[in-house]
């Protein structure tokens, strides 16, 4: 993934240098390049509220489902936390930005690389229309537009809309669901803090059949004080084992551990010599 990203970066910088096709010149774009982090400890989707009190405007049917998810969590379960099995975070959860978001802006595309889940988001800003058919994906398909809202002659705001999903996806690690019909639409606004260029404001509005109304959340990303590079190999480094609806933990010495009090071991019916 890193190699791909470096290649994309090279292509992007090349297009910055030679953009002479009538669109805005590269000098009009903000310098948001580099690594960005969420404020420390704010790993819920709506960082203004505790993780277990997100106040998502769910329909009664979805709220009843989520109540069951929460009951499972209280026992030590991991129901609907799909990333435990290394499933991509997808939209909108990826925007929590658990570790690092690397930004790169070109006239045609803004790239967002999320190191924690090795996901690369592309927001197309080349004026394209929506494709007639969208191939569903966890991150969806994003079309954006740069604006000069401060009338300074330079772009300061990125507006984006994202559609075309596959799932399952959730808002955050607590298993807060989106509708399984994957018809979500996200409208986003990114703009830098006028008083602090080290902060980017991000407003994301979710429209989804799981919700009774559009759900608006404001987030902030801070420029990382120093570069952080870590390999993320989820399949190699995870210590979780998910079998059906049950989750277990793999100990450092290679044994399956129960995650819940009194949890039964998995069914070993195909192991002829399994211990009784």
């Amino acid at each position: 993934m890193r190699t791909i990203f470096i290649t994309l970066a090279a292509l992007g910088f090349a297009s910055l240098t030679f953009a002479v096709d009538g669109r805005a010149d590269s000098g009009q774009y903000p310098d948001w390049s580099g690594q960005w982090q969420r404020p420390q400890g704010r790993a819920s989707f709506d960082p203004s509220k505790p993780g277990n009190a997100q106040q998502i405007p769910y329909t009664p049917e979805i709220q009843a489902y989520f109540d069951k998810v929460e009951a499972n969590r209280a026992e030590g379960g991991l129901k609907d936390n799909f990333s435990t099995s290394c499933v991509p975070l997808g939209m909108p959860r990826v925007m929590i930005n658990y570790e690092i978001m690397d930004l790169m802006i070109t006239p045609d595309v803004t790239y967002m690389w999320f190191t924690e889940s090795n996901e690369l988001r592309r927001i197309y800003t080349d004026g394209r229309a929506w494709p007639k058919k969208l191939e569903p994906s966890y991150l969806g398909y994003s079309i954006g537009e740069w604006r000069d809202e401060g009338h300074t002659g330079k772009f300061d705001t990125l507006i984006a809309e994202t559609r075309g999903f596959r799932g399952p996806r959730v808002f955050d690690s607590s298993g807060t669901p989106l509708d399984r019909d994957d018809q979500s639409v996200f409208k986003e606004r990114f703009d830098v803090d006028k008083a602090d260029p080290m902060r980017i404001h991000h407003q994301i509005t979710t429209t989804d059949h799981a919700l009774t109304r559009p759900y608006v959340v404001d987030r902030v990303y801070r420029r990382a004080k120093k570069d952080i590079w870590t390999d993320t190999i989820c399949a190699l480094d995870t210590s979780y084992l998910i079998l059906g609806e049950e989750n277990y933990f793999i100990s450092a010495d290679g044994y399956i551990m129960p995650a819940k009090k009194g949890q039964k071991p998995p069914d070993l019916k195909y192991f002829v010599n399994s211990r009784k």
């Binding site: 982090q37 870590t230 129960p258 009090k261």
Partner: protein, 125 residues
């Protein structure tokens, strides 16, 4: 029966619970009833999405038990002043942790809750 080297700490969830809302969710850990263990580092995994410290905890009759301790991501640890070299095998440490709800030897920890056995902090700011 495992032997803990320190008593259970009756302290509040708010001041001691490890990061509950993370990549995997930490629902299998009991942040309301933290405990403290002491032992020798067997391995420090500076891995993403979550880091791990494997600790050998001495028990009765020269027996020992391997504790698997899950922490936050390397990026968060770096912000706390940690690096992949901050712990090495054999380091004697004590860790305040949220134990598994199931009672097996392991739990989750925060950077500020890991100290050398002599009380020295690991933070390197």
């Amino acid at each position: 029966m495992r032997r803990l080297l320190a008593a259970v700490l009756f302290v509040t969830f708010a001041s001691n619970a490890p990061a509950v809302w993370a990549h995997h969710s930490f629902s299998m850990f009991d942040g309301e009833h933290p405990i403290e263990i002491e032992g020798a580092v067997k391995e420090f995994k500076f891995t993403s999405p979550h880091s791990f410290i494997v600790v050998v905890v001495p028990g009765k009759d020269n027996a020992s038990e391997i504790w698997t301790l899950e922490g936050v991501s390397p990026a968060e640890l770096v912000r706390e002043g940690w690096s992949s070299k901050i712990l090495k095998p054999g380091d004697e440490i004590k860790v305040k942790l949220a134990p598994f709800r199931s009672g097996v030897p392991g739990g989750s920890w925060r950077a500020q809750d890991v100290k050398f056995k002599d009380g020295g902090a690991l933070l390197t700011h």
